[in-house]
């Protein structure tokens, strides 16, 4: 069958249209379902972990990070835009309020060496593994 035949009758069908629609529906499944706010991404290496989170508009001094053993806690808040008299919201989609998030790392954290950066509204925390917990190589001595 020639597709142009169909077009002549006004049935301009795109053969890929349905595939595309199904493809979009299927790949959408991989999208993460609801997670506790704020969403984080965690990268792990043998002796270090990196946690990132998007916190646009939060002042760095309003972010509180604490570490105990294997757990990391991020706390903070963002205020809503304040309106003066005669001002009004046309749209209000941005989040505001306080948040707390606790995460467990696969290893204990060296709390004194934790480093946090806040660049372009993205928080980046580097969490080194506790020295005491690092795997040690034990040499075998022949007797």
């Amino acid at each position: 069958m020639l597709w142009s035949d169909l077009e002549r009758f006004g049935l301009a069908l795109d053969p890929w249209r349905d595939f595309e629609r199904v493809n979009r529906a299927l790949t959408g499944w991989n999208a993460p379902t609801s997670v506790e706010f704020p969403a984080v991404n965690v990268w792990v290496a043998e002796n270090n972990a990196v946690v990132t989170s998007e916190l646009p508009g939060v002042a760095p001094e309003d972010i509180d990070i604490s570490v105990a053993g294997k757990t990391l806690t991020i706390r903070g808040s963002r205020k809503s835009e304040e309106l003066k008299e005669g001002e009004s919201f046309h749209r209000r989609e941005r989040w505001h309020g306080q948040f707390t998030k606790t995460l467990e790392m696969p290893f204990s954290i060296e709390s004194g060496k934790v480093e946090a950066k806040f660049v372009k509204g993205v928080l980046n925390i580097a969490l080194p593994r506790a020295e005491a917990e690092k795997p040690r190589k034990i040499s075998v001595i022949s007797v």
């Binding site: 795109d14 249209r17 595309e20 629609r21 999208a31 993460p32 609801s34 997670v35 506790e36 706010f37 704020p38 969403a39 984080v40 991404n41 965690v42 990268w43 792990v44 290496a45 270090n48 972990a49 990196v50 990132t52 998007e54 916190l55 646009p56 508009g57 939060v58 002042a59 760095p60 835009e81 309106l83 003066k84 005669g86 001002e87 009004s88 919201f89 046309h90 749209r91 209000r92 989609e93 941005r94 989040w95 696969p106 806040f118 372009k120 509204g121 993205v122 980046n124």
Partner: protein, 135 residues
């Protein structure tokens, strides 16, 4: 999981049926607040990962488009352990009304938040058309 938490998740921009991007990667719709003040209208958009060098604000006819390019930062020699949010560009288009003074639009970015000030121009004067009696 509370309903409120669901709302703050990143929304992927809906592409039109056939629309494809020339750049690989996802495009998200930034959450915005729009506030009307006496002399201007402010548009505030959350675009974490974008800064003044990567945000484009363009005005074409009545359409104001914001586009924020985000370069994903991946720590070296680390394996991804948990992914709760996706990283990608931001895009959103707004239609401006007649009252906006197009020559004096200002935009600033701080901590991943874009703020656009749209000043209101001289009020569009209503024109009155005299109606004469036909003789």
């Amino acid at each position: 999981m509370s309903e409120a938490a669901k709302e703050v998740q990143k929304k992927e921009a809906t592409t039109t049926e056939k629309g494809e991007h020339t750049r690989a990667g996802r495009v998200y719709t930034p959450a915005v607040d729009i506030i009307e003040r006496k002399d201007d209208i402010i548009v505030i958009a959350d675009m974490p990962g974008a800064d003044e060098t990567s945000v484009d604000v363009t005005l074409e006819k009545n359409e104001l488009t914001i586009y924020g390019k985000v370069e994903p930062e991946v720590p070296e020699k680390h394996a991804l352990h948990l992914t709760e949010y996706g990283i990608g560009d931001y895009k959103r288009t707004f239609t401006l009304t007649e009252e906006v003074d197009r020559n004096n639009i200002q935009a600033t970015v701080k901590n991943g938040v874009l703020r656009i000030i749209l000043p209101k121009g001289e009020a569009v004067k209503t024109r009155k058309i005299a109606v004469r009696a036909e003789t």
